[in-house]
C-alpha cells in the first residue's frame, strides 16, 4: 500500500484504528474522491488562517477521539462568513465542549468549506468475513436511520453495479427529483460509488468507511463528512 507516511501510517504509529475526519478526508481526497477540504487548527489564529486559505463561508468541527456526536456538545459551527466569525466560533466551541464534555481530550478543530445543502446520501463500506469489503448506499438522515433503506454490493463494483445500487433503494425517486425538487446528479453519484469501491478494494487494511453525508446536487456531489476505521493490526 502507498501510505508509507500518510494518515494510515500516522494512525498506526499512534496505535489508533479510528482516523480523524481530517485524516480520513485527506486519504479520500488523495484517492480522487470529492470531499470538502478539512484542515486541523489548534488555535483561533490557525483556524482563521486555514479559513482564509480554504475560503468562506467556513465550518468548524471539534476534533476529538473522545467525542462521537460533535453537534450534541456544541462542537459544530456552520456558515462562518469571515475571519472574525471563525475566531468567535472557535472560542465559543472550546468553552461549550469543555462544559458539555469535560475531560475530553481535544486535538483542535477542523476547518472546512461550507458546502451548500444537497440531497443527503451515504456511501460506506464494511468488511464481511467471507466476501471482504461490501459497499452500502442509501439516502442519508432519517431514511437510513429509521427505514434502513440501504442497498449493498460486494467490492469491487462494476459500472452496472453502481447503476443498479442507486436505483435499488426505495428512496430512489427522491434522487430522480420529485414535486419540482431538482434531482441528484446520478452520474456523479455512480462515479463516486465506483471510486469508493476502488479505494476499499485497494485498501484491505480499511475495515470501515463512512461518507455520511454526501451532498448530491443537480450537478455533482461532495462528501462533507468522512470516517475511516482501520482493521486491527
Amino acid at each position: 500500500m502507498s501510505d508509507g507516511n500518510g494518515p494510515i501510517a500516522a494512525a498506526r504509529a499512534d496505535g489508533r484504528t479510528l482516523l480523524t475526519e481530517v485524516e480520513s478526508k485527506q486519504l479520500l481526497h488523495d484517492a480522487g474522491i470529492n470531499v470538502t477540504q478539512a484542515r486541523l487548527a489548534t488555535s483561533a489564529d490557525d483556524a482563521v488562517a486555514a479559513a482564509d486559505d480554504i475560503g468562506y463561508p467556513a465550518v468548524l468541527k471539534v476534533v476529538s477521539g473522545d467525542i462521537a456526536h460533535k453537534s450534541d456538545v456544541g462542537g459544530v459551527e456552520l456558515n462562518l462568513g469571515d475571519g472574525d466569525a471563525v475566531r468567535a466560533a472557535y472560542d465559543r466551541m472550546m468553552s461549550a465542549v469543555a462544559e458539555a464534555a469535560p475531560g475530553s481530550s481535544v486535538d483542535g478543530v477542523s476547518v472546512q468549506q461550507m458546502a451548500d445543502q444537497g440531497t443527503e446520501v451515504i456511501i460506506g463500506t464494511t468488511t464481511d468475513p467471507q466476501f471482504g469489503p461490501v459497499l452500502a448506499f442509501g439516502l442519508g438522515g432519517i431514511m437510513v436511520e429509521v427505514l434502513r433503506d440501504v442497498a449493498f454490493r460486494i467490492v469491487p463494483l462494476e459500472a452496472r453495479d453502481a447503476r443498479q445500487i442507486v436505483r435499488e433503494i426505495r428512496g430512489y425517486p427522491v434522487l430522480e427529483g420529485v414535486r419540482g425538487q431538482a434531482g441528484a446528479d446520478l452520474d456523479a453519484l455512480e462515479a463516486m460509488i465506483l471510486q469508493v469501491s476502488e479505494f476499499a478494494n485497494e485498501h484491505p487494511e480499511v475495515a470501515e468507511l463512512d461518507l455520511n453525508p454526501v451532498f448530491a446536487y443537480p450537478d455533482g456531489a461532495i462528501a462533507v463528512d468522512a470516517r475511516v476505521v482501520l482493521a486491527e493490526d
Binding site: F131, R153, R160
Partner: protein, 476 residues
C-alpha cells in the same frame, strides 16, 4: 493456495480408482463404483472384510502402495484417526487426489478433531495433492461411472454439473434432475472444503467442456472473494444456479454445526446474486426447477407469454401465477385472433390469451384443432414463450386408457418448439390424481419437455431464467 488443476482434473475425472476402507455389510463405496470404466481396487487390512470383498469380485490390496497401477482417485472411508496415514500413503503413491468420506473433523467443534484436520491439510498442501472433503460424498462422474450414490446413472451425455457443501443436497439435486430428464455430467460433494474449496471448483467448472450449466449448494465460503470473481467470469458463459443454505437465524445455527460456516447477512448474498447474474434458488426443488427451465428450453428473449390452459379456472390461476413473477400476458395480434376465431368454440372457452381451450381441442383430444391453435400462436409476433398446462387431474384416466391421445398432444408441442424455437414449459398438476399422473408425466419428460408440478413453480423457474438471460444481454 491455488490447486493443481491437472491433479484436480484427475481427481474429478479419474481413469483408475482405489477405495480405501470399504466395509460390510454393504461395501457401498465399492458396489457404487461397479460401473466404473477403469480399474477399481480395494485397499483393506481387515481380514474379515477382505474375504467378503474378494467374494464380491473386487481386487484387494493390503496397502495402497501395493496397487500395481497409477491411481487417479482415492476414495477414503477409514475411521478418522487413520485418515492422515491414508493421506500420507496417497502422497507417496503420487495419486491424482483424494475424496475423503470420513467425517468428524472441524465440523464437530472438538479441538482434537480440528488438529487432525489441520494435519491432513498440511500434508496435502505440502504435496500439492487435492482433497475433496473431508466429511463429504465426494465425486460423481457420469461418463466415467464414478458414483457417490447408487441412485445416480452412468452413461454418456450430460451438460449439467452440481457442486455442493452437502452430500444430501448434491445427490438429491443430481437424482432429481435425472428424474426430470436432465443427466448430470459431474457431481461434487465437497464437505469441509479445506484443501480444495468452492472457488477452485467453480473455476474448474467454468473451464470444463463437459459443463454448460452449474448448480451450487453453499452454506459458507472459504474464499469468498475468489469465488465471487470466478462466478462473475462464469455466468456470462454458463448459467449458475445457487442455493444458499442457512438463510435464517435458525438455519445459520444449523450450518454452524453442519459445516462450521460463518454467517454473512442475506443482503450480501443477494448482492452476490445481483452482481453475478447467478440464478437464486431456495430449495432443492427450486434448483432442479431452474435447471429444467435452463436445459429443456431454448434461451428466452423476452417476457411475453402465451398461456395455454384447458379450463377457465386454470386460465385465471396460470395468469396470476406468471403475472406475480413479473411476466407479461399480452394481447395477441389481430391476425392471430382472426385465424383462431374461425374455428374456436367460445362457448365455455376463450382464446384472448390466456387460453381456455378444452372445449375446442376436445376432451377426447382433437389434435387437429390444437394444431391450428399452435400454428397461429407460433406465428404471433407478440409472444416470446409458451406455457402449456395439461389439467392432468381431469384427463389422467383418459390418457391412461388412451396414451396415444397424450402423445398426439405432445407431438404438437414438439412441433411448436421446432417451428418457432421459442421456450416452452409445461405444467402437470396432479390434483387428486397424483399417482395416475406420475407415469403420464414421464411421457412428457421423455420428450425432453420441462414439466412442473404447479403453476407457481413453473412461473418462478421461468422468470428466473428469463431474468438471467436479460442479465446476460445487458452485460453485452
Amino acid at each position: 493456495m491455488a490447486v493443481d488443476r491437472d491433479r484436480l482434473h484427475r481427481t474429478l475425472t479419474p481413469r483408475s480408482v482405489a477405495v480405501v476402507g470399504a466395509k460390510g455389510p454393504d461395501f457401498g463405496w465399492l458396489e457404487n463404483n461397479r460401473d466404473f470404466v477403469g480399474p477399481l481396487y480395494s485397499v483393506q487390512l481387515d481380514p474379515n472384510e477382505i474375504t467378503e470383498i474378494e467374494k464380491r469380485g473386487f481386487t484387494n490390496y493390503l496397502k495402497l502402495e501395493e496397487v500395481p497401477e497409477d491411481i487417479d482417485l482415492v476414495i477414503c472411508a477409514v475411521p478418522r484417526p487413520i485418515v492422515p496415514f491414508i493421506v500420507a500413503d496417497s502422497i507417496k503413491k503420487n495419486v491424482g487426489g483424494m475424496a475423503i468420506f470420513s467425517a468428524g473433523f472441524a465440523e464437530t467443534g472438538e479441538e482434537d478433531a480440528a488438529e487432525l484436520q489441520d494435519r491432513i491439510v498440511q500434508l496435502a498442501n505440502d504435496a500439492g495433492m487435492p482433497i475433496v472433503g473431508p466429511n463429504c460424498m465426494g465425486v460423481y462422474n457420469r461418463r466415467q461411472g464414478v458414483k457417490f450414490s447408487d441412485g445416480v446413472d452412468h452413461g454418456d451425455g450430460g451438460t449439467v454439473s452440481i457442486m455442493g457443501q452437502s452430500g444430501t443436497h448434491t445427490i438429491g439435486a443430481t437424482t432429481m434432475a435425472q428424474r426430470v430428464g436432465i443427466p448430470v455430467s459431474r457431481g461434487i460433494s465437497f464437505g469441509n472444503a479445506v484443501v480444495v474449496n468452492e472457488a477452485d471448483y467453480i473455476e474448474y467448472l467454468r473451464d470444463d467442456p463437459d459443463t454448460e450449466v452449474i448448480g451450487v449448494y453453499l452454506e459458507g465460503l472459504k474464499d469468498g472473494r475468489r469465488f465471487f470473481q470466478a462466478l462473475r467470469e462464469t455466468t456470462p458463459k454458463k448459467p449458475v444456479v445457487i442455493w444458499k443454505g442457512g438463510q435464517t437465524a435458525a438455519g445459520q445455527r444449523a450450518t454452524r454445526s453442519h459445516t462450521a460456516s460463518l454467517a454473512t447477512p442475506m443482503a450480501t448474498w443477494n448482492a452476490l446474486i445481483a452482481q453475478t447474474g447467478a440464478i437464486p434458488a431456495n430449495s432443492v426443488d427450486e434448483m432442479v426447477d431452474a435447471l429444467q427451465a435452463l436445459v429443456h428450453t431454448t434461451a428466452p428473449r423476452g417476457r411475453r407469454l402465451a398461456l395455454m390452459a384447458m379450463t377457465g379456472g386454470q386460465s385465471v390461476a396460470i395468469s396470476d401465477a406468471f403475472g406475480r413473477q413479473g411476466l407479461e400476458v399480452p394481447e395477441l395480434a389481430d391476425k392471430t385472433y382472426e385465424r383462431i376465431g374461425e374455428f374456436f368454440n367460445v362457448i365455455g372457452g376463450s382464446f384472448r390469451n390466456p387460453f381456455d381451450m378444452a372445449n375446442t381441442i376436445g376432451m377426447a383430444g382433437d389434435s387437429a384443432n390444437l394444431a391450428r391453435i399452435m400454428q397461429a400462436v407460433g406465428d404471433d409476433p407478440n409472444i416470446d414463450a409458451m406455457v402449456f398446462e395439461f389439467s392432468a387431474g381431469f384427463f389422467a384416466r383418459m390418457w391412461k386408457d388412451h396414451p396415444e391421445r397424450l402423445e398426439e398432444m405432445l407431438d404438437e408441442l414438439d412441433g411448436f418448439r421446432e417451428r418457432t424455437g421459442l421456450p416452452l414449459v409445461t405444467v402437470m398438476h396432479g390434483g387428486a390424481m397424483d399417482e395416475e399422473v406420475i407415469p403420464i408425466r414421464d411421457q412428457v419428460v421423455a420428450r425432453g419437455l420441462a414439466v412442473f408440478p404447479s403453476f407457481d413453480r413453473a412461473a418462478l423457474a421461468l422468470s428466473r431464467v428469463i431474468n438471467y438471460y436479460e442479465w446476460v444481454d445487458e452485460a453485452g
